[in-house]
């Protein structure tokens, strides 16, 4: 271990930690919560810039050998995920009574950062837990509604089950190889030994649970609906990104063969189908996004079917597109006194006539999530399916595309409600200024991806 390497390679983590310490100090000192949001914004921005800077400098080092390592591509992904957390922070302005939100969010982001650099199951587990634990509390924060408590408990129990499965799987791999390094996973994928196979399946199941893949998805819609809007956005974007990036990192250059291949193809396919079908029947936007995120987790896991070389890029690009537009929809959602009524789809009826900006932004987000060109959601989906097809899985690619067609209806229904209803409805308050800022930033970034996709792809 070399102190210099620890200082540079973990700079993003250090900056987040510094932010956490300052926030704790502020909390003890009883300072105003506006300061805490500002501190969190600065810390996350600094951490994202540090990650981007290290990536641009081409840093590839392992300060703790076989535990934690960074490389330019991983650092870029880290910078992206941290940057996606900024709109979440902006959205939280005025949403919570206490000052816990920025602190918990930073703690969770620290976990995501660890996850993206984990080289051993120990670090991986640490990152996963550190990412999830604060989110259990964040779900509970949601305006102290009874649904929030129920959602938090469900999420906690199933999150615990996922951790247990991960630990069991890791211990089986440890038992067969004598090492905790994640590289044993890559070897185990190629192995036919029953013990190793069981370990791999358990770990994959844990990842499926965390990412809400059918049949491990039931917690997601409840948790998404029970949480308050910024927390839902955080779960749908950052937590999902963390899990998927960890998964694609874990798989490294492993090429899954039958029967693991079928597991990795059919369950995500089932998620796409079921997520898209169940979303049609929802009357709450958050719940609908919950099901939609189940479908999107399916597309993301589909990326693992592609050739190893292009997988990481495809996942990062997808997270960029999916994250930006999901955050855009949440940031543009007009606030309401009654948190539960806020995202009823019925409340969106005729929104275009009351709040044209919100309606246009949410509409754009829906089209992108549905994968309609030229929006980024299409380009990202194109990349994933291109890779799957190039790896020779023609049938899975076609089935996945046809399943994605099922999602079109419910996204369009949101647009139909907002634009095609003559009903005026009650006036809605304008979104708060920071949330507007967040939505503008997301929209501009999304438009840049539309106009210069080549530039973005070349840099991921």
């Amino acid at each position: 271990m070399n102190a210099r390497a620890v200082a540079t390679a973990m700079l993003p983590e250090h900056l987040l930690l510094l932010g956490i310490v300052v926030l704790l100090g502020l909390a003890i000192g009883g300072r105003a919560r506006r300061a805490s949001l500002a501190v969190a914004l600065i810390a996350v921005t600094a951490a994202a810039l540090a990650a981007a800077g290290l990536s641009a400098g081409g840093h590839a080092m392992a300060p703790f050998a076989d535990q934690f390592s960074v490389d330019p591509a991983g650092l870029r992904a880290k910078a992206l995920v941290l940057a996606l957390a900024l709109p979440v922070l902006l959205m939280s302005w005025g949403e919570f009574e206490g000052e816990e939100f920025p602190l918990l969010l930073l703690a969770s982001l620290y976990g995501v950062s660890l996850l993206l650099s984990a080289d051993s199951f120990l670090t991986l587990f640490l990152g996963l837990e550190l990412m999830s634990m604060p989110v259990y509390v964040l779900v509970l924060l949601g305006h102290r509604r009874p649904q929030s408590a129920e959602a938090a408990i469900k999420y906690l129990i199933l999150g615990g089950a996922a951790s247990a499965a991960l630990l069991m799987g890791a211990s089986l791999l440890y038992g067969s190889s004598g090492s905790l390094a994640t590289s044993t996973f890559v070897q185990a994928v190629a192995s036919t030994q029953a013990l190793r196979r069981t370990g791999v399946v358990l770990i994959v199941a844990a990842l499926f649970l965390k990412a809400a893949i059918v049949p491990f998805h039931a917690w997601a819609p409840d948790a998404y609906e029970g949480a308050s809007v910024p927390v839902t956005a955080y779960m749908a974007v950052i937590v999902k990104a963390g899990v998927l990036l960890a998964a694609v990192r874990l798989f490294g250059n492993a090429v899954p063969a039958s029967p693991l291949l079928e597991l990795l193809a059919l369950l995500p396919l089932a998620s796409i189908v079921w997520g898209n079908l169940a979303a049609m029947r929802q009357d709450s936007l958050r719940r609908m996004i919950g099901y939609s995120s189940i479908a999107h987790a399916g597309y993301l896991f589909y990326a693992l079917l592609g050739e190893p070389a292009g997988r990481f890029q495809a996942v990062v690009f997808y997270i960029l597109a999916y994250g930006l537009l999901n955050l855009l929809a949440f940031a543009a959602l007009p606030p309401a006194d009654d948190e539960r009524a806020r995202d009823r789809l019925g409340r969106l009826e005729g929104l275009f006539h009351r709040s044209p900006y919100s309606a246009l932004m949410i509409g754009m987000a829906m089209l992108s999530l549905a994968g309609i060109p030229p929006l980024p959601g299409f380009t990202a989906k194109f990349l994933i399916f291109k890779n799957v097809l190039a790896a020779g899985h023609t049938l899975y690619a076609v089935l996945g595309l046809v399943a994605s067609y099922l999602g079109l209806y419910f996204y369009l229904r949101v647009i139909q409600l907002m634009f095609m209803s003559s009903q005026a409805g009650t006036p809605v308050p304008a979104p708060r200024a920071p949330a507007v800022g967040a939505s503008v930033a997301c929209m501009v970034a999304a438009l840049l991806v539309v106009v210069f996709p080549g530039w973005v792809v070349a840099r991921l």
Partner: protein, 515 residues
Amino acid sequence: VSEVLALNLVLFLPLVGIVLLLLVPGASDTLCRRLTLTMMVLQLLLTAWLYMRFASGVPGLQFETRLPWIAAWGVYYQIGLDGYNVLLVTLTAFLGPLLTAGAFSAIGKDVKLFNATLLLIQFAMMGTLLAQDLFLFYVFWETMLIPMFLLIGIWGGERRIHATLKFVLYTAFGSILMLAAVIYLVWSLQAGAGVTSFAFSDLLNARLPLHAQQWLLGAFGLSFAIKVPMVPLHTWLPDAHVEAPTAGSVILAGVLLKMGTYGFMKLGFPLFPDAARLFTPVLSTLAVVSIVYGACLALVQDDIKKIIAYSSISHLGYVMLGLLSLDLIGVQGALIQMVSHGLIASGLFLMVGMIYERCHSRELAAYGGLAKLIPVYSVFFMILTLASVGLPTTSGFTGEFLVLLGAFKAAWPLHMAGDSGALVLAVVAVSGVVLGALYMLRFALTFLYGPAKAPLQPQQTLMDLGGREKLILGLIVAAVFTLGLYPDDALRKSESAATDYRQRVSSSRLPVAAP
């Protein structure tokens, strides 16, 4: 150089218009309309200039732009004019100002959004026609969907939600299979020739085994056939037409449907020629079924918009028949028929819109004797009806006559060789002309002659056409006659494409067996 710039402007002017519309906060409805019209007129002027500059008889692209867009995937921003798209581009630019002006009085709700939607769909249609890169083509192809969805869904009639969802879900299903085919096609080119490219020119040289060609043509063809639409995939069209506002119907009939036939001609058949020749009997039969079935349904409709909608199905059947004949005259006839139908159907839909604005009814039986009430309207209506029937001197005649001539020319040698299938189809297709005369004349007779009646508010009197309306219809009628009396120029400009298309679809592109 200036032509290249002009062509890019033609594509992007509508987008500039949208940005301007967004930038003017609280702009009055009149300003929004005028701004949109200005953009459309500018686009038309530039297109007209490019049409003059377009050299006939030169194969390949003219005024080409090619810039890397997603370099890592071999995707280029590549646009240009060639014999395939030059007529349709001109048609699209020609209809733009007309439908914008046509909607001045018809649309009073969300005027800004309406004009932005018109500009967006104009942008997407131009892009689809000009694109010379499959990725770009697909992006524009899909982009057309959303403005049309809004156009029908916001400004449509009573059952607009049903109609617009049906339209989108139908067309999107075709598109998603086409996307799979696009990826597979590019990937197999990469695996075979080692080139990662979406450029039409590269893809048109890819060699594919017959079974792959069949699947891919199936996927592309389904998407195109839904758009055309060919029986039995046509059921979305009457709903969409009936519920759409006039501008929506004009776009649909004028340009959108031609995207299907254009897709077959530019991509579907030339990309997979061996499969195309294999499918020709089935597709020709479907084309003739479309001609006859569409005409029969048009004969029994009570809704005047539905009559024109079904007649569109019938008329586009001729285009498909011409393309499938693989005869030079037939293919050129198909190209003329595309433009001709675009003009005539647009004109008729605009006229239906004008009478609907006055009387708020689309029921044929509610009208009668309009010739006495509104003579100028009736003259225009009669001209367009006769053009639709295919009266010589109008564009309708040029298109249908050339297609049928081509179909017979191609079928005769086959008949002499003992295979009379194509000849039977050509003979049945001729009956479509008779049926066409029947339904259009039934329509015009009920509409214009007999006892004078029109559904009106009690205090209203029926107004004849105003200056703006006369100008719109006058331009369309002038174009119809120009194409009917002097099709020479249009034929020469598109001849290189017809020759190229014939040569491509006639040759085999199966993989060459290693010696």
